[in-house]
């Protein structure tokens, strides 16, 4: 079993909902990213998505766009993200997935990337601009190295597409809460919850809901049907402002709210 699979099994056994935290690598620098991941784990994160910055992040809202832009200006790239992973692995076994855009992966070379990522200690990738139809070659490279390539569903994903996604999904399924981009806002989670209950009938692969979640209350609401929630912009906004402790407080409060509401 991979780190991701172990973690979800562990959560299920304990009757807990998972908390996945997104952090853009290189904000404000590589050493800080290592520290932030370790602190996020202590504050209650079950898994971390490390954002690999790209110049044109099509699926991201203003906060993560700014974080990506700043990180690139500071020289962050995929090689250095893998170095960050190696540093984290000296101290923690928290599941880590890389989140980035296909051009960066393509530029590195899929086969080499999958090998290097495995060796560094990553557990998989989330690539928002690779829909199911275009995922084959990268998925194969990932599978050959026992890495996950996370697939997506959204409130608008048709039943047929849900079926196709479920048939090949592994690790977890990223359930996008709303039609739009990343960023904190008030969201009606009922449309994605309907999709998740549909997904649950077809696969045992866990579901994680992301996009828009900024408060403990929203985390609880988003977790209703899912196995985990993903929080990005709300955390990154604090990190961009230099308010790391606020970011950790937010993670801790979400952990507590999820446990209070769902932990049996």
């Amino acid at each position: 079993m991979t780190g991701v699979e172990n973690k979800f099994a562990e959560l299920k056994k304990a009757g807990k909902k998972g908390l996945i935290i997104y952090i853009t690598a290189g904000i404000p620098d590589a050493d800080s990213t290592v520290q932030l991941v370790l602190e996020a784990e202590k504050a209650g994160a079950d898994m971390v998505e490390l954002g690999i910055p790209f110049s044109d992040p099509m699926a991201d809202g203003p906060v993560i766009q700014k974080a990506s832009y700043d990180a690139i200006q500071k020289g962050m790239n995929l090689h250095r993200v893998l170095d960050i992973v190696r540093e984290i692995r000296k101290k923690s076994q928290i599941p880590l997935v890389g989140m980035g855009y296909i051009n960066i992966m393509l530029n590195y070379g899929f086969a080499k990337l999958a090998q290097d990522a495995k060796e560094a200690g990553l557990d998989g990738f989330i690539i928002p601009d690779v829909p199911h139809e275009e995922s084959g070659e990268l998925k194969k490279a990932c599978r050959d190295n026992n890495l996950h390539l996370v697939e997506f569903v959204t409130p608008g994903t048709t039943d047929q597409r849900i079926g196709e996604t479920c048939s090949t999904a592994d690790g977890f399924i990223y359930c996008v809460s709303i039609n739009g981009v990343t960023g904190v806002r008030k969201i009606d989670y009922s449309p994605i919850n309907r999709v998740i209950s549909h997904v649950k009938k077809q696969t045992a692969t866990p579901c994680a809901v992301g996009f828009g979640i900024g408060t403990p209350e929203a985390a609880v609401e988003a977790a209703a049907e899912a196995d985990a929630v993903i929080v990005g912009s709300a955390v990154v906004k604090n990190i961009l402002e230099g308010a790391d402790q606020e970011a950790m407080k937010l993670i801790a409060s979400m952990r507590q709210a999820l446990d209070n509401s769902y932990h049996k």
Binding site: Q65, L106, T157
Partner: protein, 398 residues
């Protein structure tokens, strides 16, 4: 890269690299386009607007003075500059707006660099009574105040984009983001033959009227003799519209002219196909040649012409490049400005700075041509929009 999904591929180029959110609406668009591209009523409607509103067919003008100036092949200009709104962009905007209307969309959005596509989209939105939002980089808004005001006069809302470098590529990303959040009532009119499938095919088809008219007109003018074709390439919509009809006519040499800017250094030009340093990558949903750095970050490119100032290129051009169907070449700022002035003085036509890149290639091509040969240059747009900038570069106060 291995291609498994053959849909919307030009050889290995193209594809649909977009967030899952956008996939259902791309599928819907593809379905609608497949239906209407064969629908006689739709085509009749499009034809009507091309003729009665845009001013098609455009002239194929024999440039006698320019021909005499060079003393080689006969030079014909395909006068897309005479279209309503001043450039070929209206061909595509009309086609996509008619499609959006049939799909029941209430709003159209667009990205724009220099503002020409934004104006074309605002124009068709006004014509068809649709709401219109145009995404434009904050830097470009500052550079193109006149076009910003034109769009406002036409009833469009111009949305400034400050993220990234605040230019065309960021405006395109922002338009895609907005679209993802408003897919139910909004159609995104991409301005060039770029983006995810079905856009490159659809834009090419709407622009192919350029080449189809050239085919008929050259038959009357020269009995069909045609040896060379030249068009400028940013994203590449006027060029694909010019060349597509002739893609199997191997005896006709076709030149796609990219902007060589102020030099060969990275970031100093907007060459993607004629640049030995560029390699394929994915931007805005398609796999195609791309100006990128060693980490795969997209480079901010440069050209005197805002319409050629795009780091990517249409995927079909990437295929034509690798197959040798079209030869892609570079023309720098100075060569383009010289050609701009030459056409003004010889023919009394003020060309767009974009089109001036195509004209400038005559300087290199003509010495090796013979008087019995024939060359067609696509004059993609008129230069009224560029007069202020050209004056500035030439040191004139206006």
């Amino acid at each position: 890269m291995t291609v498994e999904n053959k849909k919307g591929r030009f050889g290995k180029f193209g594809g649909q690299y977009v967030p899952e959110i956008v996939m259902p609406v791309l599928n819907q668009l593809e379905e609608a386009y497949e239906k209407y591209r064969r629908d006689p009523e739709f085509l009749k409607d499009l034809r009507k607007y091309y003729v009665e509103y845009a001013g098609r067919p455009t002239l194929l003008y024999y440039a006698d003075k320019l021909t005499k100036y060079y003393g080689g092949a006969k030079i014909y200009l395909k006068r897309e500059d005479l279209l309503h709104t001043g450039a070929h962009k209206i061909n595509n905007a009309l086609g996509q707006a008619l499609l959006a209307q049939r799909m029941g969309k209430k709003q159209v959005i667009a990205e724009t660099g220099a503002g020409q596509h934004g104006v074309a989209t605002a124009t068709v939105a006004a014509l068809f009574g649709m709401k219109c939002k145009v995404f434009m980089g904050a830097v470009d808004i500052e550079r193109q105040k006149l076009n910003v005001f034109r769009m406002k006069l036409l009833g469009a809302e111009v949305v400034p984009v400050t993220t990234g470098t605040g230019t065309l590529k960021d405006a395109t990303s922002e338009a895609i983001r907005y679209w993802a959040a408003h897919i139910d009532d909004t159609h995104y009119i991409i301005g060039s033959a770029v983006g995810p499938h079905p856009y490159p095919t659809m834009v090419r088809d709407f622009q192919s009227v350029i080449g189809q008219e050239i085919r008929q007109q050259i038959q009357q003018e020269t009995g069909g003799r045609l040896d060379y074709m030249i068009a400028c390439v940013g994203g590449g919509s006027n060029a694909i519209g010019t060349f597509y009809e002739f893609k199997d006519d191997a005896q006709i040499k076709k030149f796609g002219v990219e902007a060589a800017g102020r030099g060969p250094a990275i970031g100093d030009n907007a060459q993607t196909l004629s640049n030995p340093n560029s390699r394929p990558g994915v931007l805005h949903g398609a796999y195609s040649y791309l100006a990128q750095d060693e980490d795969g970050q997209v480079i901010e490119v440069y050209s005197i012409s805002a319409g050629l100032d795009y780091p990517g290129v249409g995927p079909e051009h990437s295929m034509f490049h690798e197959q040798g169907v079209v030869e892609y070449v570079g023309i720098n700022d100075k060569e383009a400005l010289d050609a701009f002035q030459l056409l003004c003085r010889t023919e009394g036509i003020i060309p767009a700075v974009e089109s001036s890149h195509a004209l400038a290639y005559l300087e290199k091509l003509m010495p090796s041509t013979k008087p019995e040969e024939v060359v067609v240059v696509t004059l993609s747009g008129r230069g009224d929009k560029d007069v202020q900038q050209v004056a500035k570069v030439l040191g004139e106060e206006i």
